[in-house]
Amino acid sequence: MASEFRLILKHADQPGYTPDMECYMRHGGYEQLKKAFATPARDLADGKKQSPQEVVRDEVLKSGLRGRGGAGFSAGLKWSFVDRKSGKPIYLICNADESEPGTFKDRQIIHKDPHQLIEGMIISCWANDVKLAYIYIRGEMPHGAKLLNKALAEARAKNFLGKNILGTGYDLEIHVHRGAGAYICGEETGLIESLEGKRAYPRIKPPYFPAVLGLYMCPTIVNNVETLCHVKHIVAMGASEYAKLGTPNNTGTRIVSLSGDVKRPGYYEIEVGKATLGEIINDPAFGGGLRDGRKLKAIIPGGSSSKVLKAGEVFKLKRKGADGQMTAVDVPLLDLPYDFDSLQQAGTMSGSSAIIVIDDSRDIVDCLANLSEFYAHES
């Protein structure tokens, strides 16, 4: 039977756990930053040498970490695209513009454990030679912005930020930047335009790949809140141990936001692919099933931008057979493992890992009209 596996939200809901520095330090806070700073350089088999920063970047790549914002792209690969030879500063932006309908996972991290995000961010910035970074938080989270500002001030006071951090010679500043209620700011080039003080119109790719021409036309990394938190745990566990969490090519944990017609809506952290859609919706440890007397009509599996799946659908998934050959296997909707690849093969996506459940009392046209109105308003 599937169960929660809390890595990112390990402490967040523990009684007495508070979002301040003192509490975070009591729970081993900023130890992984120190560990990252102490990473030894590595000699590779081909005679080349990896700097400590390159080692951490390589660990993130080998961990298999995929972006938790929506696209599910390899975080390590994204970092590898950064133009490090341009001579321009490299920027990092944490995308905290959580606004994909159905999604409320980053909210938990920001409000309950902001230092975890900041520690993950400092490690990520250091590994990528970033000296100035921003947290772009959606405008409708004013308390979250205040909490982050307080946490950043606490981190400055401890010299985890600022000049010559912990005597390493490394300088970094992080600022909070508030959006003002436009969904399009969640798209990374729109977000960059917004951070430059403009309307958040997305840029055309190519040529404006953020890794090369991002903020102020400089190389820029844009990572989701949850993604940056995972970096801390990759440093803590090492890439190979981390990659044992979840399933192959779908490593680590993910916070799933569950809403709509279930008994227990809420957020549940799972090992990626270790729980099925059916388990997340129906198990007592998760959604607890639909309300009594109701039947499933449809599932929106990965935020409102993902393709809606109908109750009773059966999908053809590629699976490795006993003979090692790939074969197509029939997988009913509720047996779909909740991971990046299975949902993609089912013709939809896990997106921002937000599941909205729709029962048989609903008119599907009404539901989709509601979402169409959202997109009409936001475009």
Partner: protein, 163 residues
């Protein structure tokens, strides 16, 4: 009346500008600071922010008209934003908004933000507030109210009336 920014707010604004290598980037943060203080962003405020950042007023005006959170007119003292997107809609946010409108004498068939004649309340439908597990959610000024029932809505309104 001439537009003037108190020294303490201007000091806050000057500090915000230092966060960015390019001044223009501070636009949204300045507009937030102005709106929090004055309740809205007036034409004079737009010109003031533009001057502060070495920009043309149009550069700021186009932000105020693009980003839904900025408003050019004062709103009610208690600003009630009811989430209308799917998860909240499934949990009855349409009925909830109607309840607010009815109790406050506003027209629930009208689109957009509506303010009561006494200036005490503004009610509007907004898009996803990112707390769908606690649907229906309502933002009351800066605070988020979750799993809002009709009786909680009544409490929100009686608190607002006392303001």
């Amino acid at each position: 009346m001439t537009f003037s920014v108190p020294a303490i707010l201007e000091a806050e604004i000057d500090e915000l500008i230092t966060h960015y290598p390019v001044k223009r980037s501070a636009s949204l943060m300045l507009l937030h600071a102005i709106q929090e203080h004055f309740g809205h962003v007036s034409r004079e405020a737009i010109e003031w922010v533009a001057l502060k950042l070495g920009l043309q007023p149009i550069n700021i005006y186009e932000l105020v008209t693009f980003y839904p959170m900025f408003r050019q007119e004062p709103l009610g003292k208690t600003h009630i934003k009811v989430c209308r997107t799917l998860s909240c809609a499934l949990a009855g946010s349409g009925v909830l908004r109607d309840h607010f409108c009815k109790k406050l004498g506003l027209d629930s068939h009208k689109h957009g933000a509506q303010t009561t004649p006494d200036g005490k309340f503004t009610v509007e439908f907004v898009e996803c507030l990112a707390d769908c597990g606690n649907a229906p959610v309502v933002m009351v000024n800066e605070d988020l109210a979750t799993k809002v029932t009709a009786s909680q809505a009544d409490q929100i309104m009686s608190k607002g009336r006392a303001n």
